[in-house]
Amino acid sequence: MQNVNWTILIIFIALFGFITWLGFISARWRKGDLELLSEWGLGGRRFGTVVTWFLIGGDIYTAYTFIAVPALAYGAGAVAFFAVPYTIMIYPILFVVFPRMWQVCHRHGYITAADFVRGRYGNRWLALAITLSGIVATMPYIALQLVGLQVVIGGIGIYGEGWVGDIPLIIAFVILAAFTYTSGLRAPAAIAIVKDVLIYLTAFAAVIVIPIELGGFGKIFAAVPATKLLLAAPKGATTGAYGAYATLALGSAMALFLYPHSMTSILSASSGHAVRRNSAMLPLYSLMLGLLTLLGFFVIAAGIDKLPEFAEGFARYKASFAAPAILLWAFPSWFVGIGFAAIGIGALVPAAIMSIAAANLYTRNIHREFINPGIAAKDEAQIAKWVSLIVKAGALIFILFLPLQYAIQLQLLGGIWIIQTFPAVVCGLFTRKLNDWALLLGWLAGTVAGTWMAAVMNFSATYPLVIGGWTFPGYAALYTIVLNLAVAVILTPILNALSSTPPADETLATDYQA
C-alpha cells in the first residue's frame, strides 16, 4: 500500500460515491412499479433515443474492452484493430434486424430473446437452448468486467497480498449489487451517462495530448516494430491473417446483439425508431474505441514498459496494464483519477446490465416455464432481483478464486455459443419457415463443433479450416454458424414431413412492423 497515489484514489472514490448515489436515486427516474419485471428489468421500455445511446454504448464498449483492446495492440499489433471493422458492421445489423425485434417484443410483452423464440415457434426446448446459451455466455463476460476494475485499482497503487488486496473489488461489487437490486435497469442507464462523459473526455484527451508529447503519429509508428504495424500478408495456399481478421470481425459482429445484455438495452428503448436512429449515432463509440486502441502503440513508442515505476504493474497484469500505464505516464494525477474512474465505472455499467439480463432469462425462461408457470408478476420481479445477486456473486467468486485464464477462455467460448442462437432469433424475425426441431439440432451441432474447434486449438479464437488443399484460418464462431444454418435448412423439410401438426406461431406478420 505504500505506493498509493492519493490524488488518484480520492478522485476515484469521489466519482464512485457520486455514481453510487445516482444508482440509488435512479429508482425514482421515470417512475414505474419496480415490482414488475418489465419495470425493473427493462426500465419500463421508456428510454428515448439519447438515453438508449448511452445505455447501448455503455453496454457494448465495456471496461474490459478499454483494457483488452489496447493490450492486444501493445502485445500483438495490427490484429487488435479488428475491433474497428467489427464495431462498424454491428450497426447495419442493428438497423435492419432489431427494430423488428423491438416491435414484436413490445406487442407481446417479451422481455428476452428466448421469450420471442418461445412465442414464435411454440417450442419450449428450443427456447431453453436459447436461454442456456445466453446465461452461459454472459457469466464469464461479467467476470471479465471485474478484471478491468482490478487492473485500474492496481494502477492506483493498491495491490495488497491475499484477500486484503481483494477488498476494493469486493466493495465495488457490493455497491453494484445493491443499486442493481433496488433500481434495476434504471441504475446502469443513469450511470452510463456519467461514465461516457468521463470516458470520451479521457479518450480524446489521450489521443491529442500523448501524440504531441511523443512528437506526432509519424514518430510513434516509426517506433513500432514492422511486424506489428500491419497484418502479415498470406503466403502459399492460405488466406492467413487476412481471413482471420475478416472472420473475427464478421463473427463478432453477428454475435454481439444476440448477447442477452445487448437485447436488454435494445428492448428498453421507447420505440423501434429510437433503435434505428441509434444505429447511425452509436458509431461515435467505435471511433473512440479505434483511437483508444492506438494507446497500445503509444506505450511501445514511449518505452513505458521498460520504466522501473511501471515494472510491478506490467509484471502483475501483463499487457492489460498498457492502457492504465500510458494514462499514468502522460497525465497529472487528478486527470488519471478521472480516466481510471471512467474505466472502473465502465465495468459496473455492463456488469449491472448483464446480471439483469441473465436474471430476466432465468426468471422468464426457466423459472416460469419449467418450475412455477402460475407465478404472480410481483414474485417474478422478486426472483429476478435475487438471481441478479447470485449471478454477480458467482462472477466475483470466479475472479477471486480461479485463474484469470479460465474467464478469458470461457468468454471466447461464450462468443461461439451465443452466435448459435442466430438462426432461431435473427432468421426467426424474418421467417417462420425453419422447423423448430431442425433449429434445435442446428444449435446443438454448432455448439458442439464450436466448442471442439476452440478446445483443439487450445482456446485460440481462430481455427485453421482445410478445404481442398487450402487453409482458411478463421473465427470458429463464424464457421460453426454456417454448419448450424446448414443443419437447420437441410433438416427442415425432413422434420416437417414427419410432423403431423402444423407449425405453431403466436405472432403475426404485422407484429414486426411499426
Binding site: F81, V84, I88, G216, Y242, R276, S279, A280
Partner: protein
C-alpha cells in the same frame, strides 16, 4: 393506398448498407502503410474513416426509409 410500390422502392436503399460490409471484409484493400495521413499508416486511418462512412450510409438509409 399506394403503400405497396413505395415500400418496395424504399427497400433498394438498404443495399447501401452492404457497402460497409464489403469494405470492412476486403482486408487486402487496406493492409498497407501508404498513403499515410498525419503520420497514421493507411491501415489505421482508413478503418477509422470507414466508421464515419458507415455511420453516414446508415443515416442516409434511415432518412430515405423513414416515413
Amino acid at each position: 393506398m399506394d403503400e405497396g410500390p413505395r415500400k418496395s422502392r424504399q427497400r433498394w436503399w438498404y443495399l447501401l448498407l452492404l457497402v460497409q460490409f464489403v469494405l470492412c471484409l476486403w482486408v487486402p484493400l487496406y493492409n498497407k502503410l501508404e498513403p499515410s495521413f498525419i503520420g497514421l499508416p493507411f491501415f489505421y486511418w482508413f478503418q477509422l474513416l470507414l466508421v464515419l462512412i458507415g455511420a453516414a450510409l446508415t443515416a442516409i438509409v434511415y432518412f430515405a426509409t423513414e416515413k
